[in-house]
């Protein structure tokens, strides 16, 4: 097949041929074609099946409003479902498949639905699948899921990348038709920073599809010249293939630029699409208008399309959709289609015009007072039935029919802040309301100014208004001459015929009958009607059908259209790929990583890492011969308790707190007192939320009279800093306190175990004996002259220190500690061993700091000082929170050391029924203690402090465990603290 429907003219490059396929059939087209125009050129009208009835469907429009011609583009992992053939730019090697059909497009088994249409009316699902209830999950839902949907997903990872970016401008112009171009020219010449965005790959809008001129040039030529000038203006950015998706707050718009969609594969390194966030001081919606159809019986056959689209295919793409065409129009714009096609030598069989009065078109059978009432043709239009002005019916053999019921301004984006469109009786359409997004105005057809002259004039006027508002010097150029003809529209929404179905919304298979049924069942509100019938949903958002449906409902209710109202629009303007929204944030790039100072060393050692927020922390470091994580972790724990272990604790939040009120500030944010802490000492601190629950914990060291460094948990580092800033700036702005994070500035390692001091003595220049640096002491030291900090604190229960150096030396320090530690058989341990040792010592961590626990629950009630006021203290004393039978932190050990135990298990009295009423508490953390040779756990247990030594059951329905346990002290090792003071 060789493009048998090509006619002269058009903006395609006939010197080059592009090869593509549709449903496996090899076809050709030219650069400048869309998939739709190329298919039509190849005399392919049937392109898809409808959503519900599986009716044969072809192209209905020539733009992004397309409801019917949805195809799957590209093979393999790049397969893209529900792509509108009307905006898919043709490229060499393009492959397209029709969708929603089986086994093939011409014969679709589910077209039986069309025969059963009486059962599939609006509300069918709601009424039919209500009973019996048990059928829903097993029967109805699987069947509906199988039948529903249009395209299919490849289920493969998208191999392409998607970018994002940020743009700024004085004026964003949405749409590069005559209004947009004139606005851009006016603003660009004045030096304003302009972004002109258009979803089409060829800017010019309708000027590319029309034959009328501007000045003494063809419209398309004028557009090309304007674009040439705009391209030379340094302050103007032209963005074709770019759809403005939505208007958001403060002049922010989102846009997707289809960078590589017109290529088979993106060029190396290039994104497939880019999602832009555009900051615009002002914006003009010059998005044009969308033609609307007239409903009549069987108005959905392939070959029936909007009259403007029929004209566009002829004028822009050099395609005659049919050999014998007719036009059904209630306005003068539709007449242009007949005239243009006639001028191109196409056989225009008739123009069916419901308007009785007016001149007749020369040389064309112009049937005044007539309507189209039915059509025929199984897989494509073969004839139409016309009811003539005299009431008689006549059948005309045609292969294409252009329908025009008028034009609806593209006001979608003006509704994105919930502005209601306003009915304009002059053009019988909704126009943008006055309360749209601030700074956004409309021009051209988008504002209801339908002629080319009006588009140019309003585009210029809106741009001048913007320039004036922004203080740009500007001039008013003389507008070129352009047509200024009125539409002369006779409102006609539906041409009744017989009993057949007339489609309102072709994408959702919503018919006139469905609207009537909605009315009959009192779904008369436009919002109810929309949801009951699905009018205006799905990929086209009812761009062609919505107003038709509203008008019909208005007729049925006897109200005017403005009284009936309209639904409004929300972003995105057209469908956007989830990939574009995700951008590069996918897979490993989903979020940034934070690497610890010892990361590179640990990686060399084959460490296993674990994500802790953005941090990657060493989880354990396997040694040769170790085949399970438990072997590694057990070794790390035992070696640490036996000799010495090293752990990177840089990830703990570190906040530098300075100022003459630093101590008083800490007294207010911590439950316990810090103003009395001597310089050179650390103290464990407990931070409460306003409601008295524990927020975070950690040690804080006093480095100088007016300088503290606070340590937070890794998870809460940011939250605590934010909290402190809130306190400083909002609660107590009079305090002299300055805060800054120093988490990243220092590489900090815990050195724990009986030989910790001996190891550190080998590298620290100063005396760190128990006398010089007692338990909870801290201070500045040096390592070979390098500035360092040392803190004698312990999370493991062992004699332990934390040693910190400027981060750039962190890698050097871990290597030095390991090298010097060899004499003590030192190990480096990860977060798993850290967790084991903190449970063995009974230290609370994330599992216990669950936001629902008080200091009393944790056994730390005495830390909440009543001698001073602090955040959370008053509310921590509420009756229920200090109840003696409240939860208390306890230790749990299985009676049988070989028995299974798991975190989350609930504690029950022996013999009690495992029901919620008997729930005594739950296991918060559970580890294997190599030191004790048993699983051990921490738990919150009601009145737990009174139950030490008792036996209970740990029941877990998830793991089906029911284990006899003993309630013990949460300090499993060294409860007196002799080791850490050693």
């Amino acid at each position: 097949m060789t493009q048998v429907k090509r006619i002269a003219g058009g903006q395609i490059d006939r010197t080059r041929t592009l090869h593509f396929s549709f449903d496996g059939q090899s076809l050709t087209g030219h650069p400048g074609d869309t998939l739709a125009s190329a298919l039509l050129a190849n005399n392919i009208r049937l392109m898809g099946r409808s959503f519900k009835y599986h009716r044969p469907r072809g192209v209905f429009s020539a733009g992004s409003e397309e409801p019917n011609a949805l195809v799957e583009l590209r093979p393999g992992a790049r397969q893209e479902p529900n792509t509108r053939a009307t905006v898919a730019e043709l490229f060499d090697g393009l492959t397209a498949q029709s969708q929603n059909r089986w086994p093939n497009l011409r014969f679709d088994a589910l077209s039986i639905n069309d025969r059963l249409n009486a059962f599939f009316t609006a509300g069918f699902y709601y009424k039919t699948f209500m009973w019996p209830a048990v059928f829903w999950e097993k029967l109805y839902e699987p069947i509906i899921r199988r039948a529903a949907g249009l395209g299919s997903l490849s289920r493969l990872d998208d191999p392409d990348s998607y970018d994002k970016g940020f743009l700024h401008c004085d004026l964003l112009i949405i749409g590069a038709g005559p209004a947009g171009l004139m606005a851009a020219l006016t603003a660009g010449r004045s030096g304003a920073r302009v972004i002109l965005a258009d979803e089409d790959f060829r800017m010019g809008g309708r000027l590319n599809a029309e034959t009328y001129g501007i000045g003494d040039q063809a419209g398309a030529d004028w557009a090309a010249l304007v674009l040439e000038e705009l391209a030379t203006l340094p302050s103007v950015r032209l963005m074709s293939r770019t759809t403005i998706l939505g208007a958001f707050d403060h002049g922010i718009f989102s846009a997707v630029e289809r960078v590589s969609d017109h290529l088979a594969v993106p060029l190396p390194g290039k994104p497939r699409q880019t999602l832009w966030r555009i900051y615009a001081k002002r914006s003009i919606n010059a998005g044009g208008a969308t033609e609307r159809p007239i409903a009549f019986e069987n108005n959905d056959r392939p070959g029936i399309m909007l009259a403007g689209a029929l004209r566009a295919y002829a004028n822009r793409w050099g395609v005659s959709v049919g050999d014998r065409i007719a036009v059904f129009t209630n306005n003068d714009d539709g007449l242009r289609t007949a005239l243009d096609l006639q001028a191109k030598g196409v056989d225009v069989v008739a123009v069916i015009d419901p308007r009785k009065d007016g001149a007749l078109l020369p040389g064309i059978r112009h049937l005044r007072g007539a309507t189209v009432v039915d059509t025929a043709g199984r897989l494509g239009l073969t004839s139409i039935t016309v009811r003539l002005g005299n009431g008689k019916a006549e059948t005309l053999a045609v292969s294409a029919l252009g329908v025009s019921g008028g034009w609806n301004p593209n006001l979608n984006i003006t509704s994105h802040h919930r502005s209601r469109p306003v009915w304009n009786a002059d053009i019988t359409a909704f126009v943008p309301g006055a309360d749209g997004p601030p700074g956004l105005t409309s021009a051209g057809a988008a504002s209801g100014a339908m002629s080319t002259h009006a588009a140019l004039a309003t585009g210029q006027a809106q741009a001048l208004s913007v320039l004036q508002a922004l203080g740009f010097a500007h001039r008013t150029d003389v507008l070129p001459k352009a047509e200024d003809a009125p539409l002369n529209l006779l409102p006609l929404w539906y041409a009744p015929g017989g009993e057949g179905r007339a489609w309102i919304d072709q994408q959702n298979d919503v018919t006139v009958k469905d609207i009537k049924l909605a009315h009959q069942e009192n779904m008369v509100s436009v919002e109810h009607m929309k949801r009951y019938t699905t009018l205006g949903m799905a990929t086209d958002q009812g761009k062609t059908g919505n107003v038709l449906g509203l008008a019909l409902m208005a007729e049925l209710t006897g109200q005017s259209i403005p009284e009936t109202g309209t639904t409004i629009y929300r972003p995105p303007y057209t469908p956007v790929a989830l990939g574009a929204l995700a951008g590069r944030a996918r897979g490993q790039d989903f979020k940034p990583l934070r690497l610890t100072p010892s990361h590179h060393w640990a990686k060399e050692q084959g460490a296993t890492f674990v994500e802790v927020g953005y941090w990657l922390r060493t989880q354990w470091l396997p040694r040769p011969g170790e085949t399970t994580w438990r072997q590694s972790v057990d070794r790390e724990v035992l070696a640490t308790r036996k000799s010495v272990g090293i752990c990177d604790v840089t990830t703990l939040g570190k906040i530098d707190i300075q100022g003459t009120d630093a101590g008083a500030f800490l007294d207010r944010v911590y439950a316990n007192t810090f103003s009395t802490l001597p310089v050179g000492k650390c103290r464990y601190g407990l931070m409460l939320r306003e409601d008295g629950m524990v927020f975070d914990d950690g040690t804080t060291a006093r480095l100088a009279p007016h300088e503290y460094v606070m340590t937070t948990t890794t998870a809460n580092a940011v939250a605590v800093f934010r909290h402190l800033e809130f306190c400083r700036q909002v609660l107590w702005p009079d305090m002299d306190v300055q805060l800054i994070s120093t988490t990243e500035a220092w590489a900090q390692y815990s050195v724990a175990g009986p030989n910790a001091r001996k190891l550190l003595e080998k590298i620290v220049d100063q005396d760190i004996s128990d006398t010089a640096l007692p338990y909870m002491g801290c201070g500045a030291v040096t390592i070979g002259g390098l500035r360092a900090r040392i803190f004698r604190i312990s999370f493991s229960g062992e004699l332990a220190y934390e040693i910190a150096v400027p981060t750039r030396y962190g890698d050097g320090l871990i290597r030095r500690l390991v090298a010097e530690g060899a004499a003590f058989e030192a190990v480096v341990y990860g977060t798993e061993a850290l967790g084991v040792m903190r449970v063995e010592k009974g230290h609370v961590a994330g599992n216990e700091l669950n936001g629902q626990s008080t200091a009393l629950n944790m056994g730390l009630g005495k830390m909440v000082s009543r001698k001073k006021d602090s955040i959370g203290m008053p509310l921590s004393q509420r009756e229920a929170m200090v109840a003696e039978d409240g939860y208390r932190l306890v230790g749990v050990m299985p009676v049988d050391k070989t028995a299974a135990l798991s975190a989350g298990s609930h504690l029950l009295d022996v013999g009690a029924e495992p029901v919620a009423a008997n729930d005594g508490g739950w296991l918060t953390s559970m580890v294997w203690s190599p030191h004790l040779g048993s699983l051990i756990a921490l738990a919150y247990l009601k009145a737990g402090d009174q139950k030490l030594g008792q036996r209970m059951r740990a029941v877990n329905f998830m793991t089906k465990q029911d284990t006899l346990v003993e309630i013990v002290s949460p300090q499993f090792i060294d409860p007196q603290g002799d080791r850490l003071r050693g």
């Binding site: 940020f166 590069r584 007016h706 500035a745 070979g784």
Partner: protein, 187 residues
Amino acid sequence: MDNNLKSLSALGKPTALILQIGPFKITERMNVALASLATRRGQGTEFKNRAQLAGVPLPPPATSERNDPFGAFWVTPEMWFIEAPLPMFEDIAAKLKAAFGDTASITEQTDAWVRFDLSAPNPSHLLERLSNIDVDRVPDGHASRTVIDHVGCYLIRRNANEVTLYGPRSSANSLLHAITVAAESLL
């Protein structure tokens, strides 16, 4: 400093990165000392006097300023980051403390950040894919907090062709990845 500990760049390398991707030159700067300098309450006048005496610039909000050997950029009300050559100011916090005494709170920040200097005929071509700052329109010396691929950064426009990015040191590799991927997409 002879302490037997090797220092590494934020990217984990012994030397600073210099990368040319098309027109974009990315230079990691390891030779800059950094400290935060905050006015203590009620010390404003004396603080400013001492700053003047020490030659430490105190630029207004959203700006940066140089006065060799110091550079400074505003970070939050009454707080600046002070830049200085690392070889001379390895102990920058101590040196500033000596100059400002109790009129200021000073915290060493040298190793908290990675610094990438970006130079190109038109750096905004790259930066418009990374940051929402209008690099083309802000004046020379503009300094602002921004977010690049979820990483909180400071951006300083030195001049029309040079921009400095400060990002958290631990995310240096992620930040560099974001910059290089965006730069490569523009080739």
